[in-house]
C-alpha cells in the first residue's frame, strides 16, 4: 500500500527524490543521524556551468509502491540512493555492500545513480589501524552523551515520514524536522549554499581534479581487498554510464539513456564491488569526512545531468516509438488493449508530454514545463484522459507556484537575493519577463512577485486549477493518495497567499476523501489537518482534529491502543479549547472558552493520563478540571470526580510541585482554591490586654526633610499602609487567622490539614483539620501560629491537604481576597501577666473608657469615710521577665481627682519588687477609701439650716467604677519600646453613713478659739457611735440628728492658691469642677470626727472639706487681723481676770493693738467705750455716765505700724 506523504508541498514537484539509507548493523543510529543532518541540509545545489539549481528532497524510507507512481509524477521517483554504513574490516564491508546492492536492486527501475558511504576505513578502503580506531572512537565517544539522546529521539514509533512526529514533541522539532519536507526546507534555508554558488565554479574544477585522482586509488584498493571476488572482476570495466558524475561522461550517459528509454535507467548496474568503483566512498569517520557535502553535491550534480539529458532527449521524441506511461492502478486496465487506436496514441503522446513537463520542472525550467503541461492538456482532453489532465493541472499549479513564489533566502543572506532572483528569471529565460516591483512580502519569506512568465498562473488561477485537478482526481478510486496530497499542497499554497477560507475548503475536502488506511496513517492525517488548520488560524478546528487523532490512537478497533500518544495529542489540543495549564492565565471576568467541551476534553485527558499510568499527571488534570470548571459541573459529576480523585490520590498523593511531561510541557501546580472556598481571610489582632502598645518616646523624630510640611505623601509610607494591617503581633504569642470557608461539594468535606503560607518571619504553625458539612455556608476556621522571631510577617496564603491533594492557595490568585492587607509586624517578645484581685468579681460592669483590656475585676461596698484594702497579685506567665510595671487609673478626667482619692496604692512598693522573673509573683495593695462629701443632696453647702427633715431616700449610695490600668513590659519588647496594658475593673459602692445636716461657727469664750457646731445625721440603717474631740462620743440612732461641737483654735489660713494665669485658663475649656475651698480643706485638718458602726464593726472618718463656710463664719474661725491687749493700770485685762479699780480714781487704760504681719490698713478708726462693771457680786448696774473719759474717745489712725499707746 502506498504511503501518503502528508508533508508534501507544491515545490516538491521540482525536487529530486534521493533516498538516504542506513546500511548495515555497524553504524550506530547516532552517527547515521549526524550524517543525515549534514546531508539533508544540501537541498538546493547549484549546478556548475548552468544557471540553474537542483532541488533535492531526501527521504530515509520510501515505499516501493510510492515509487511506482513515479511515471505519473516524476518527483515521486527515487532518483538517487545514498547508503551510509560502517565497517572495520573487509568481511564487514562485504556484508555492507551486499546490503547496499539489495536496496539498489529494489529501486533499480528508477535510480539514476547511487553512492555508498563507508565509515571506519581509510580513504583508500584499507582497514584502520588500532590507533586510528581509538581516535575515531574517542571522537565519537565525546559526542555520545549528546548523540545518544538524539538517536533515541530520532527513532520515533511512527513512520519517519509522518507528519505526526514533530507535533508529538515540539522540542524535538528542531531535531526531527527532517521528517517532514516542509521543515527540512525551512531548515535548509539556513544552509543554502548561495555563497558556495558564487565560488562554485572555481571550486568545482579543483574538486573534480581531486576526485579523479582519488578514483583509481579506491578502485585498486577494492580490488586488492577483495581478491575472492576477482572472478567477477572481468566486468570491472564498468560502462561509462555508471559514472555520470562528471561532465566528461555526460554525453555518454545521455546517449545511453536515449538508447534505452524508460526500461533501463542509466544508473550503474554494476553489482559487484569492483564494478561499483566510484560509487563507494571510504572515510575513517564522519568527523574526518569533511568533503561529505562536496561528494553529495557531486552526486546530485550527476543526477541532474542525467535528468537534463533525458529532458533534452524527450523533446525530440519520435511519435512512432511511443510508449504509454501509466499510473500504478491503471496498468491492469491497459493490458491487452489495442495499441493501434488513435486515442491510444493520443494518450501516449499526451502523457509523454506531461512527463516531459515534469522533467522540465525538475530540471529547473518551470516556464517551459508550463508550456508542456498545457500542450499535454490539449492533447489529452479529446481522449478524456481525466486522471492525467488532473496531473497536468497540478503540474501547472506547481510550476506557477515555483515561478510566482520563488523561495527566497534567509534574511541573513538577503543581499544575495538579487543574485537569486536573476537566476530565477534565467531559469525561465525562454519566457518573456515583465519587470515590476515586489508587491507584497509575506512574513514567511515568500515574495509575491510581479515579474513572472506570462504563462504562469495568477494566484487565483492556481487555486482554480487545483480545484479542477481535484475534480479530475476524484473521478478515480485509485487516486485517493494523489488527491489527498494535492489537497494538502493546494492548502499550503493558499496559506502562503493568506487565503485562509479557501484553504479551509481544501482541508474540508481532505476529510471527504475516503481512503482505507491504517490507524497510524489516520492519526498522521488528522495531525496534518490539525497542523494546517493551525496555520490558517483555525485553532478550534485544529484542536478538534488533534483530539480526533488522539481518539484514533485508542479507538476500540485498535489492537494496540497507544495511550501515551493519545495523552500527548490531547495535551496539544488544549489551546484550541482555551484550556490553560496554569490557572493564573485564565481571565476571571468572563467565561473563557466552551465549558462543555472543556470539561469533555479534560475528562479525556484525565482518562488517558490514567491509562498511561502517570497518576500524578492525572491528578493534576483532575485538579484543573475541578478548579476551572467547577461551576458547570453537575452534582453527579462532582461526586464522580471527587471519588476518582480519592482513588487516584490513594495511589499517589497530589503534590504542589510542577510536573514536567516527556514533551517538555510543564504542568504547574493547581491549587484547589474553590474546595473549600474561602470567602474571607482575616488576621486577628491579639486580645486587647495582650496587644503591644508603643511607648511614646520622648524623643520627637527629627524630620530630616527641608520642609516643615509637605503635601506630598512619600511613597514608602503609602505602600506600607496598603499592605500592613494596623496592629502588630508579638513574637512567641499565639496569633490567629480566621477564615470563612464554604464547602461547595455535595458531601461532607474533611480537610486533613490547613495551615498558613508565610514569608519573612519564621513561624511555628499549628494546622487545623476542620470538617465542613456538605454545601454549607460560611463556617469559621481558625488557623493558629506562633511567630518565632520579630519582623514583618507576610501571609501569602494558606495550604490545604484534602482528598489526598495538597494545594497552596496564594491570596494573590484569589480574586476576592487579592487586596487584603496581610502583612503584619511582629514585634519582639513581651512578657505576659495575669492579674488577680482579692475582691469578689464584678457581675456587671459598665465600661469606663477603654474597658476592653480588663482581665479581672473587684467589687466591694464601703460606707462613706471607710477604708478598705484590696490585694492585687501579678503573676508572670511568660518566659520573659517583667521589668517595668506602672499602675495608673484610667477614668474620665472629670472624675480623676475624686477617683484618685478613692483608690490609692504605692508605686514605690511595686517598683521595689521588680523585675519579676518568669512565673514569679508580685502583690500590691490598693487602698479603697469611701470618699464622700458627707452632705445630703438637698442640703446646701453653705451650712444654712435645711428646714425640712430629709427624706432617707435621698441618701443614695454612690457607685464608683474605675479601671486600674497596669502597664508592663520587659525583655526584648521593652527594648523595642513596647508595652502591654491590662486592667482591673473596680466597682465600689459607697454607702452613706453620717452626714452633716447643718453646721455653724460660734465664738468661743477665748478670743483665740472658736467653736464649730455640726448637726450630724445618721443616714444609715444602724446605730452609729460618733467620736470627736478625742474623748467625746455619743450614739446616734438611724435618722437621728445631733449636734456636736468642737472647739478649735482659731487658725491662720494659708494664702489661697495663686490665680491661674491666662494661658491656663485658655486651656481649661470646661468650667473647672467645683473646687473645694481652701478654707475647708485647711480646716479639715483640725477637725476629727470619727464614726463607727456597732453592727458591722466598721469605722470611718467624716471629712469636712466639702462644707462651705460663710464669710461671717470664717471671720469667727480666723485669727482676727487685729489683736489687742488691754491693760488697766498696768494690769493686764482679759475675760478671765478683770482688774478691780476703785471708784473715782483715774484709771489708766492702756490698749495695745497689734496688727498681724502682712495686713496693712491704710486707716482705722478706733473707738473706745468704757463700761463699768461695778461689782460682780452686788451691783449689777452698768452706767456709762459714771465714767468720765479723759482725752479723746475716738482716734483716727493712719499708717499704723505696730502698736499705739492710748492714754
Amino acid at each position: 500500500m502506498s504511503q501518503i506523504d502528508y508533508g508534501q508541498t507544491a515545490e516538491d514537484h521540482q525536487a529530486f527524490l534521493i533516498l538516504v539509507r542506513h546500511t548495515g548493523q555497524h553504524l550506530c543510529n547516532r552517527s547515521f543521524n549526524r550524517a543525515w543532518e549534514r546531508i539533508r541540509k544540501l537541498n538546493c545545489i547549484a549546478i556548475p556551468g548552468q544557471k540553474r539549481v537542483a532541488w533535492v528532497r531526501y527521504k530515509r524510507t520510501y515505499s516501493k509502491e510510492n515509487n511506482e507512481w513515479g511515471d505519473f509524477q516524476a518527483h515521486r521517483k527515487v532518483l538517487g540512493l545514498v547508503s551510509i554504513g560502517q565497517c572495520t574490516n573487509s568481511d564487514q564491508f562485504e556484508e555492507l555492500f551486499d546490503n547496499y546492492r539489495k536496496v539498489k536492486e529494489e529501486y533499480a527501475s528508477t535510480l539514476f545513480n547511487s553512492r555508498l558511504f563507508v565509515f571506519g576505513m581509510n580513504t583508500d578502503g584499507s582497514p584502520l589501524s588500532d590507533e586510528e580506531k581509538e581516535n575515531c572512537n574517542l571522537e565519537t565517544g565525546e559526542k555520545s552523551s549528546s548523540g545518544s539522546s538524539r538517536s533515541g529521539k530520532s527513532s520515533p514509533v511512527h513512520s519517519e515520514d509522518s507528519g505526526v512526529t514533530p507535533d508529538l514533541s515540539p522540542t524535538e522539532a528542531g531535531n526531527d524536522c527532517d521528517l517532514t519536507k516542509t521543515d527540512a526546507e525551512t531548515d535548509s534555508n539556513v544552509n543554502k549554499p548561495t555563497s558556495a554558488i558564487s565560488s562554485r565554479v572555481e571550486q568545482k574544477s579543483a574538486q573534480q581534479q581531486k576526485q579523479s585522482d582519488l578514483k583509481p586509488e579506491s578502485e585498486s584498493n577494492v580490488e586488492q581487498n577483495d581478491n575472492e571476488n576477482v572472478s567477477k572482476s572481468g566486468a570491472s570495466n564498468e560502462p561509462p554510464t555508471s559514472q555520470p558524475h562528471s561532465n566528461s561522461t555526460k554525453t555518454e550517459s545521455n546517449s545511453s539513456a536515449s538508447s534505452e528509454p524508460a526500461t533501463s535507467r542509466p544508473h550503474s548496474n554494476s553489482l559487484t564491488k569492483e564494478s561499483a568503483g566510484a560509487e563507494v566512498l571510504f572515510s575513517p569517520g564522519l568527523q574526518a569526512c569533511i568533503d561529505l557535502e562536496e561528494k553529495v553535491k557531486d552526486f546530485v550534480t550527476s543526477i541532474f545531468f542525467v535528468l537534463e539529458g533525458k529532458r533534452l532527449d524527450r523533446s525530440f521524441e519520435r511519435a512512432d516509438k511511443m510508449q504509454l506511461l501509466c499510473a500504478p492502478f491503471e496498468k491492469k486496465d491497459y493490458v491487452g488493449l489495442d495499441t493501434d487506436t488513435k486515442s491510444y496514441r493520443k494518450k501516449c503522446q499526451g502523457r509523454l508530454r506531461k512527463h516531459l513537463g515534469d522533467l522540465c520542472l525538475q530540471a529547473g525550467i518551470p516556464g517551459e514545463a508550463i508550456l508542456h503541461y498545457q500542450t499535454a492538456i490539449d492533447i489529452l482532453r479529446p481522449v478524456n484522459d481525466w486522471l492525467w489532465i488532473g496531473a497536468c493541472f497540478e503540474g501547472i499549479c506547481s510550476a506557477s507556484v515555483i515561478v510566482r513564489f520563488p523561495k527566497s533566502q534567509t534574511p541573513t543572506l538577503r543581499r544575495n537575493f538579487s543574485l537569486q532572483a536573476t537566476r530565477g528569471t534565467s531559469m525561465a529565460n525562454d519566457t518573456k519577463l515583465r519587470t515590476g516591483s515586489i508587491k507584497t512580502s509575506y512574513s514567511n519569506g515568500y515574495q509575491d512577485q510581479e515579474e513572472s512568465p506570462k504563462s504562469a498562473l495568477g494566484p487565483d488561477d492556481i487555486v482554480e486549477k487545483y480545484r479542477e485537478a481535484l475534480v479530475h482526481y476524484s473521478k478515480f478510486k485509485g487516486s485517493g493518495m494523489i488527491e489527498m496530497e494535492a489537497c494538502l499542497k493546494a492548502c499550503r499554497v493558499l496559506v502562503v497567499q493568506r487565503k485562509y477560507l479557501q484553504a479551509s475548503d481544501f482541508l474540508q475536502n481532505v476529510v471527504y476523501i475516503n481512503l482505507q488506511t491504517s490507524d497510524e496513517d489516520k492519526i498522521n492525517r488528522y495531525c496534518t489537518l490539525s497542523q494546517l488548520y493551525a496555520q490558517i488560524g483555525f485553532r478550534r478546528k485544529a484542536a478538534f482534529f488533534k483530539r480526533i487523532a488522539a481518539m484514533q490512537c485508542v479507538s476500540p478497533q485498535n489492537p494496540q491502543p497507544n495511550w501515551k500518544l493519545c495523552h500527548s495529542l490531547v495535551m496539544q489540543c488544549l489551546d484550541g479549547y482555551n484550556i490553560c495549564l496554569d490557572p493564573k492565565d485564565v481571565p476571571t471576568d468572563c467565561v473563557y472558552g466552551w465549558p462543555v467541551l472543556q470539561s469533555r476534553v479534560l475528562n479525556e485527558l484525565i482518562f488517558s493520563a490514567r491509562r498511561t499510568g502517570n497518576i500524578p499527571v492525572a491528578i493534576r488534570h483532575l485538579g484543573m478540571l475541578l478548579h476551572t470548571l467547577f461551576d458547570i459541573l453537575t452534582t453527579e459529576d462532582k461526586r464522580d470526580l471527587i471519588n476518582t480523585l480519592q482513588t487516584l490520590t490513594a495511589k499517589s498523593e497530589g503534590t504542589t510541585a510542577p510536573l514536567a511531561l516527556d514533551s517538555g510541557v510543564i504542568l504547574p501546580p493547581i491549587p484547589l482554591s474553590n474546595i473549600p472556598q474561602v470567602t474571607s481571610f482575616k488576621l486577628i489582632p491579639l486580645p486587647p490586654h495582650l496587644q503591644p502598645i508603643k511607648v511614646a518616646s520622648k524623643v520627637v523624630k527629627q524630620d530630616t526633610g527641608p520642609f516643615i510640611f509637605t503635601p506630598l505623601s512619600l511613597g514608602q509610607q503609602e505602600v506600607q499602609s496598603k499592605t500592613h494591617v494596623d496592629f502588630s503581633w508579638v513574637e512567641c504569642d499565639m496569633c490567629e487567622v480566621q477564615l470563612q470557608v464554604c464547602n461547595p461539594l455535595p458531601d461532607e468535606l474533611s480537610i486533613q490539614q490547613m495551615s498558613l503560607m508565610t514569608d519573612g518571619v519564621e513561624i511555628e504553625a499549628y494546622p487545623t483539620s476542620p470538617t465542613i458539612p456538605a454545601e454549607s455556608g460560611p463556617s469559621l476556621v481558625k488557623i493558629l501560629s506562633r511567630p518565632r522571631s520579630s519582623g514583618d510577617l507576610c501571609i501569602l496564603g494558606y495550604t490545604t491537604h484534602l482528598l489526598g491533594m495538597r494545594s497552596q492557595c496564594r491570596l494573590r490568585d484569589l480574586p476576592e481576597l487579592r487586596d487584603l492587607r496581610t502583612t503584619v509586624t511582629v514585634i519582639p517578645a513581651l512578657p505576659q501577666i495575669t492579674l488577680t484581685a482579692s475582691l469578689p468579681k464584678v457581675a456587671t460592669f459598665t465600661t469606663v473608657g477603654d474597658g476592653a483590656n480588663v482581665v479581672t475585676s473587684g467589687t466591694t461596698s464601703i460606707y462613706a469615710g471607710q477604708s478598705k484594702e484590696c490585694m492585687i497579685t501579678i503573676r508572670n506567665t511568660s518566659n520573659q521577665p517583667v521589668e517595668k510595671i506602672t499602675v495608673s487609673l484610667d477614668c474620665h478626667p472629670d472624675q480623676k481627682e475624686m477617683q484618685s482619692k478613692v483608690f490609692q496604692w504605692s508605686q514605690e512598693n511595686l517598683d521595689a519588687q521588680l523585675p519579676l522573673q518568669p512565673s514569679g509573683l508580685v502583690c500590691f495593695t490598693v487602698c479603697i477609701y469611701g470618699y464622700s462629701d458627707f452632705l445630703s443632696s438637698k442640703s446646701s453647702r453653705d451650712g444654712s439650716q435645711s428646714s425640712e427633715h430629709s427624706n432617707p431616700d435621698e441618701y443614695d449610695s454612690k457607685c464608683v467604677e474605675s479601671l486600674l490600668r497596669v502597664e508592663y513590659s520587659g525583655g526584648p519588647g521593652l527594648e523595642a519600646g513596647y508595652c502591654r496594658h491590662c486592667a482591673v475593673a473596680f466597682s465600689v459602692d459607697i454607702l452613706p453613713s453620717v452626714i452633716f445636716h447643718s453646721w455653724e461657727a460660734l465664738p468661743s469664750e477665748s478670743p483665740d478659739h472658736c467653736v464649730l457646731a455640726f448637726d450630724v445625721c445618721n443616714v444609715c440603717s444602724q446605730q452609729v457611735e460618733m467620736q470627736y474631740n478625742i474623748d467625746d462620743s455619743f450614739k446616734l440612732e438611724p435618722k437621728q440628728i445631733r449636734r456636736l461641737t468642737i472647739q478649735i483654735e482659731k487658725c491662720k489660713f494659708p494664702d489661697p492658691a495663686p490665680e491661674l494665669d491666662v494661658a491656663d485658663r485658655l486651656q481649661m475649656t470646661k468650667p473647672p469642677p467645683p473646687t473645694i475651698s481652701h478654707y475647708s480643706q485647711h480646716l479639715d485638718g483640725f477637725i476629727h470626727i470619727l464614726w463607727s458602726m456597732c453592727g458591722t464593726k466598721s469605722c470611718g472618718k467624716m471629712a469636712t472639706e466639702h462644707l462651705t463656710w460663710s464669710q461671717q463664719q470664717l471671720e469667727l474661725i480666723k485669727v482676727s487681723d487685729v489683736s489687742w491687749n488691754v491693760s488697766v493700770n498696768d494690769q493686764s485685762c482679759s475675760a478671765y481676770s478683770i482688774p478691780v479699780v476703785c471708784t473715782g480714781k483715774v484709771v489708766n487704760i492702756e490698749i495695745l493693738i497689734t496688727f498681724r504681719a502682712g495686713v496693712s490698713y491704710t486707716s482705722a478708726g478706733l473707738a473706745v467705750s468704757c463700761g463699768l462693771l461695778t461689782d460682780h457680786t452686788s451691783g449689777h448696774s452698768r452706767d456709762i455716765d459714771l465714767v468720765t473719759v479723759l482725752g479723746s474717745q475716738s482716734y483716727q489712725l493712719t499708717n499704723l505700724r505696730h502698736c499705739i499707746l492710748l492714754a
Binding site: Y500, L501, S504, D505, Q508, Y512, Y533, I536, G537, F538, R539, R540, K541, F544, Y577, C590, V591, Y592, G593, W594, P595, V596, L597, R600
Partner: protein
C-alpha cells in the same frame, strides 16, 4: 428545519445551545465550536476596510457531510449559528436569513428583560419558544 441553534457571546462562549435530537448534543457542540473559526475569519477579513457596512448574515460557514452550518454576527459581536441538515433542500438562503432575523428579534426581546445580565446563559422561556418554533418541522 434547523437541527441546532446556538447563541454565542462576544467572548466566544456559549450563551444558549439547543439541539433537536438531544442525544447528539455533544456533536453539535463541537460543530458549533469549530464553526467559530470560520466566523472569526470572516469577520476579520471584512474588518479591514472599516467603511464597509458589514452584513450581519455570514452565509454558509462550512458544509459537513450531513449538515450545513450558517452564521450570523450581530453588531455587538454576538454570534448566532444555525445548523441544518444537508438533505433539507427546501431551505434556501432566503429562508435561512429569515430564521436568523427571527432569532435576532427574539434575542433582542430577551435582552430587553431588565433582569437579564448580558453575558449570562439564556434561560428565557420566550426565547426558547422562538427557537423551538424554528426547529420544529413544519
Amino acid at each position: 428545519m434547523a437541527v441546532c441553534v446556538a447563541v454565542i457571546a462576544k467572548e466566544n462562549y456559549p450563551l444558549y445551545i439547543k439541539t433537536i435530537p438531544t442525544d447528539n448534543e455533544l456533536k453539535f457542540q463541537y460543530t458549533v465550536h469549530t464553526s467559530l473559526d470560520v466566523v472569526e475569519e470572516k469577520i476579520s477579513s471584512v474588518g479591514k476596510n472599516t467603511n464597509d457596512l458589514r452584513e450581519l448574515y455570514l452565509g454558509l460557514l462550512y458544509p459537513t457531510e450531513d449538515y450545513k452550518v450558517y452564521g450570523y454576527v450581530t453588531n455587538t459581536k454576538v454570534k448566532f449559528v444555525i445548523v441544518v441538515e444537508s438533505s433539507n433542500t427546501s431551505l434556501r438562503d432566503n429562508e435561512i436569513r429569515g430564521m436568523f432575523r427571527k432569532l435576532h428579534n427574539g434575542y433582542v426581546d430577551m435582552l430587553c428583560n431588565p433582569f437579564y445580565t448580558p453575558g449570562e446563559n439564556i434561560t428565557s422561556r420566550l426565547f426558547d419558544n422562538t427557537v423551538l418554533s424554528m426547529m420544529q418541522q413544519d
